[in-house]
């Protein structure tokens, strides 16, 4: 365990979660370093979202340990909140508030007040290219704008780690590219990014990847290491191969 991972990254040991008889995540050992863009990949139901929810304190693990930003999420989930940002598939902003009001609200919830908050709102507007639409109701925005607003809300308190759960689902290619440029900028500034995705071109943009299959960690490494290990030309081939195995397993146990 490196010092950097201890303070700004993630370390999990034997992290597991069961919902009744169903094991969603089994014995997960992960290490994510500061400033990494770390991708969680796997077919639907492989445990990606559950993993992110355990790391953000949204779901209590059944067993195992998870240290996020040097804090034990299992025993002290409240202490980690100020250090992390979270953006879910459903974009957690209020559709009946304007762009500006949403950022103001989340800023306030994270304890920002006065001039500090005003400056931070302006900063988020510039960084996320929210431009001149400050008074537009969030519910009337298009997919790409919604996504950037969600990210602006999730990072208004300048977290050390940001968790993105399928952030680009249902967003056009141009917006996705812009979004990934922003992610890259964050990582360059020292923010640690954990992202789940279905898109293989996005997986290729991650520094390292973890492949999950039916709750088990199958492989961790750079995109190149992964393809080499599986002896397949692209990440997409690996993904399809894993999905095929999953289905075969499911049929065997059924």
């Amino acid at each position: 365990m490196t010092a950097a991972a201890d303070q700004f990254g993630i370390v999990t040991k034997g992290l597991s979660k069961s919902f009744g008889a169903i094991a969603a995540v089994v014995d997960l050992d992960l290490e994510v370093r500061r400033g990494e863009v770390f991708g969680l990949l796997g077919p639907n139901g492989s445990g990606k979202t559950t993993t992110i929810r355990m790391l953000t304190g949204l779901v209590r693990p059944t067993s195992g340990q998870a240290i996020v930003a040097g804090i034990d999420v299992v025993t002290a989930p409240e202490r980690v909140r100020q250090r992390i940002g979270y953006m879910s598939q459903r974009f957690g902003f209020y559709e009946d508030l304007t762009i500006e009001e949403n950022i103001r609200f989340y800023g306030g919830v994270y304890g920002l007040i006065g001039r500090e908050r005003t400056e931070r709102i302006a900063e988020q507007f510039t960084r996320y290219r929210l431009g001149d639409r400050s008074r537009q109701l969030a519910g009337t925005l298009s997919g790409g704008w919604k996504q950037r607003l969600a990210l602006a809300c999730a990072t208004v308190h300048r977290p050390d780690l940001v968790f993105l759960d399928e952030p680009t689902a249902g967003v056009d290619p141009a917006s996705r590219r812009l979004f990934w440029e922003m992610i890259r900028e964050h990582a360059d500034l020292g923010m640690t990014i954990i992202v789940t995705t279905h898109y293989m071109d996005e997986a290729e943009r991650c520094g390292r990847l973890a492949f999950l299959s039916r709750g088990h960690l199958i492989g961790v490494g750079t995109p190149k290491e992964i393809t080499t290990r599986f002896g397949l030309p692209t990440i997409e081939d690996v993904f399809i191969e894993l999905q095929r195995r999953d289905e075969a397993d499911a049929n065997a146990t059924a």
């Binding site: 989930p77 409240e78 909140r81 100020q82 459903r90 957690g92 209020y94 919830v109």
Partner: protein, 375 residues
């Protein structure tokens, strides 16, 4: 800025409250309902009571046929509650015409009415009121009772010691209750209804839209989250009380005998308790539709068992126990005590203590039941 003050200013709760108000301002429909529902309710109740109570078709059986008896008939008519529809010849006719619904009241003046007055003895007359509908009958009954006293005074001023005793006999529903008794109760019923539903829906809506999940990962505490829902809606509760009091007073002359300040004070724990019930419901349901259903399920015993519609004393034991577990039961006593009888905190301290207890326990339970996880 001192450290403590700075921490206070950074409370996530302030942002929650601010956000709730911004959303309310945009949600014109809900806002209109919040003010529209009490106005419409009180207007419906009030007008129904007024039109029914005034101008009851009334039969006259004047067996005295004297100047004194005709004076009594005029006095009855002057109350405005009775319209003389016809003179009848027998008691049997009164029974028939009231049973058929043709008439709603009758005045019976016996043959010796004038003679008794002249001899300075107590003269008797009888007012019969169809009390099948207690709301319409109550005012008529009190008006009927009053004319005896008024006529007595008038006669006493002129002739000396005469007195008239008017016996009022409510028919069909002897255990009748007064209209003014119902009106203060409406405040309690409307508050329970809107507060419970508004609070439960406010939380469930956040869960459905995914914003609750987002809030859970922020540093806001469970208490902060719950209070962020309670405080803004508290204000709506007070707006509703004010609307009902104003409409009741201006349109229907509902009395406000006691202190409005004390009424607003004791309303606080009642509103908070109702919001607590709403928050508890939100923890138990998955959708807004379920929250609405549970909300209405909660309202029903409130209307039936709290003493709003029927006297609790007449209920069987279990119904009384259920009633005793409802905050509205105590708030009704407070409302009626303050509005109608001019009671104060010194008379109503037991009810107030119970209401404070309810508010603390219910909101406390709601905070406990709410988990900052999404399982």
């Amino acid at each position: 800025m001192s450290g403590r003050l700075d921490r206070l200013a950074r409370w996530p709760l302030w942002s929650m409250i601010w956000k709730e108000f911004v959303q309310l301002r945009r949600d014109r429909f809900t806002l209109a309902m919040m003010i529209g529902i009490p106005t419409v309710q009180i207007a419906l109740f009030g007008y129904a009571i007024q039109t029914e109570v005034r101008h009851l078709p009334t039969l006259i059986l004047d067996e005295s046929k004297t100047e004194q008896s005709r004076s009594l008939v005029r006095a009855l008519e002057n109350t405005g509650n009775f319209d003389i529809s016809r003179e009848v010849m027998s008691r049997g006719e009164i029974t028939r015409r009231i049973a058929s619904g043709e008439a709603r009241a009758a005045l019976v003046i016996p043959p010796d009415f004038a003679r008794d007055l002249k001899r300075h003895r107590q003269a008797n007359a009888q007012v019969i009121v169809d009390a099948a509908d207690p709301l319409s009958a109550s005012a008529a009954i009190s008006a009927g009772g009053q004319i005896g006293a008024i006529e007595s005074q008038r006669l006493a001023a002129r002739t000396g010691t005469s007195s008239i005793d008017i016996r009022v006999r409510p028919w069909y529903n002897p255990g009748l209750r007064s209209a003014v008794y119902i009106v203060p109760g409406i405040i309690g019923v409307i508050l329970s209804m809107t507060m419970v539903i508004i609070a439960s829906i406010a939380v469930v809506r956040e869960r459905e839209r995914g914003t609750l999940e987002q809030l859970i990962v922020t540093p806001i505490s469970k208490t902060g989250l719950m209070m962020g829902k309670v405080v803004p809606f508290l204000l709506i509760g007070y707006v509703q009380i004010t609307v009902i009091l104003l409409v009741g007073r201006i349109l229907f002359h509902v009395p406000i005998v006691g202190s409005v300040g004390q009424l607003y004070l004791i309303a606080l724990p009642f509103i908070v308790a109702s919001l607590g019930v709403g928050l508890l419901i939100s923890a138990a349901v998955k959708s807004q539709a379920q929250a609405m259903q549970l909300g209405f399920f909660y309202i029903l015993p409130n209307i039936l068992l709290s003493g709003f519609m029927f006297p609790r004393e007449a209920m069987p034991g279990p119904a009384q126990w259920v009633g005793a577990a409802l905050p509205l039961t105590y708030f009704l006593r407070v409302m009626r005590g303050i509005l109608l009888k001019g009671a104060g905190l010194d008379d109503l301290w037991r009810e107030s203590v119970v209401l404070v207890g309810f508010s603390v326990v219910l909101v406390g339970l709601a905070v406990r039941r709410f988990h900052k996880t999404i399982e």
